[in-house]
Amino acid sequence: MIEVKHLTKIYKTPSQEILALDDVSLQVEDGEIFGIIGLSGAGKSTLIRCINMLEKPTSGQVIINGVEITALEPHELRTARQKIGMIFQHFNLLSSRNVFDNVMFPLEIAGVPKKEAAERVMELLELVGLADKANAYPAQLSGGQKQRVGIARALANSPELLLSDEATSALDPQTTRSILGLLKDINKRFNLTILLITHDMNVIKETCDRVAVIAESRIVEVGRVIDIFSNPQTSTSRSFINTVMKRDIPEELLEQPDSAAPSERRLVSVSFIGKSAGQPLISSMIKKYDVDANILYGNIDRIKDTPFGYLTLELTGPADQIDEALLYLKSHGLEVEVINHV
């Protein structure tokens, strides 16, 4: 388990002080994929670097599996870092070494005997699907292949934790998907805890169990990805969700006056999570209550491995019937939010 307690980082320049992290605390459980999302400059890069002390926090603690990383002597820190793998946006492979020797690098640092290390390297290249590229130099590889080498390298010393610093931000969408797939696979196979930072909500949606939203050096929201998607609490979270799922309703629909109608009209948004996404709840609601439903927008997607549906409905009918219908939906585990009373 990773515990971050009251982490603060202030960069001092001769002219000013810049607060990069402001009293950040969080917990990452064993075996989960935990995402930190924020815009550039929000502090996520500083935060992930404080976890393995590439950046020294001004105050606060980082504790990994009971070891207080922030309190270690330099030589102890080096040993601890061997058990914390890290992958990078720009891969950071050594151009002077071929793929094999790049993956060998952390094993050399850890002093693993040559023969044993060579076997381990081949095993890792097999795992990331690059065994045939062992003799290639990084310059001969595509971005996705480079990141696979980066992942193999990060796993070399069988880490307890993998830090991912915008690992897919320099890759195209298709390659991003395959790299994320590999990370999920590794997470499952080795029960490896992964802490990743990104500015891409898709990455969070596809891979993470939990997410922390960081804005202006602070964590503004933290929780299960599903919960944040179905019920975001902050405008920052909402705008990130909007980048992958359009939830805004066109103005015209919100205003549309319909004075002739004797009944009430309400716009509601309904989120389905997991199993309920597969049930015909809306149609049974219509049958059961005296309401009409007009679907304005709908989307069904996956958040990591859970189906996640989202509907914007226009409900018309007597007010009490609408109220009952909404209660019915809620009782079946749907998130219901009334967007507008008309």
Partner: protein, 220 residues
């Protein structure tokens, strides 16, 4: 006027120049390479940041580099005498050549190593590498093509310096050109010397270029 006797003289002088330059290039790297590495790793924000060391070494390098070689040569005669026993001749020339080249090499090495992306160093740090491992496994290998070109530049510079040393009795092509070409008005010797120097410089540059290209091509 350009006979076999002269030919022998020219060959000997060429050999002396090559010998002087080769040994002083080698020795200047023995001292200049570590110095350049220290200048880099002790700089602000680097793996062994140390303001005092960085500034003291940087100033020494700057001071030494600001003295014109021909003056430096004369200035350190006592030291040359102390080390070699004399300040005349090929072996004695190696002392000022080496000493003058050390700060030059240090700056060249510094420039080469500073070009390396910080991300590579960060990656090594994240794996738990110590400073020595970062220097020997990241900085130097990554900078190898650029360092190789630096060796060529240093060698060429030392060819020029060695000719200056020749004027105060350092031996080699400089001495030959000075005594025969200048003092005895033997223009032919002067020209032969110049042509040999041009060829030497060309050879060194070509060798440096092709070695550097070979190293980077292998990585491409």
């Amino acid at each position: 006027m350009f006979d076999a006797w002269m030919m022998d003289k020219v060959l000997l002088a060429t050999w002396e120049t090559i010998y002087m330059v080769a040994i002083s290039t080698f020795l200047s790297y023995v001292f200049g390479l570590p110095l350049g590495v220290i200048l880099v790793v002790s700089s602000d924000g680097h793996i062994l940041e140390n303001k005092v060391v960085n500034q003291v070494l940087g100033s020494i390098v700057n001071v030494m580099r600001s003295i014109p070689f021909i003056i430096f040569l004369i200035l350190i005669i006592p030291l040359t005498r102390l080390i070699v026993g004399t300040y005349i001749g090929t072996v004695a020339s190696i002392v000022p050549l080496t000493l003058a080249a050390i700060p030059f090499v240090a700056r060249l090495v510094e420039t080469s190593l500073k070009e390396i992306e910080w991300g590579l160093i960060e990656a090594a740090l994240s794996m738990g590498a110590n400073s020595w491992q970062i220097i020997s496994k990241v900085l130097l290998p990554e900078a190898m093509p650029s360092l190789t070109l630096g060796v060529a530049i240093t060698t060429i510079n030392l060819v020029g310096y060695s000719a200056m040393a020749g004027i105060v009795g350092g031996g080699g092509l400089g001495t030959l050109a000075y005594y025969y070409g200048y003092q005895r008005y033997e223009n032919a010797i002067m020209w032969v010397t110049v042509i040999i120097l041009i060829i030497l410089v060309q050879l060194v540059q070509m060798l440096g270029d092709s070695l550097a290209a070979k190293i980077s091509n292998r990585r491409r």
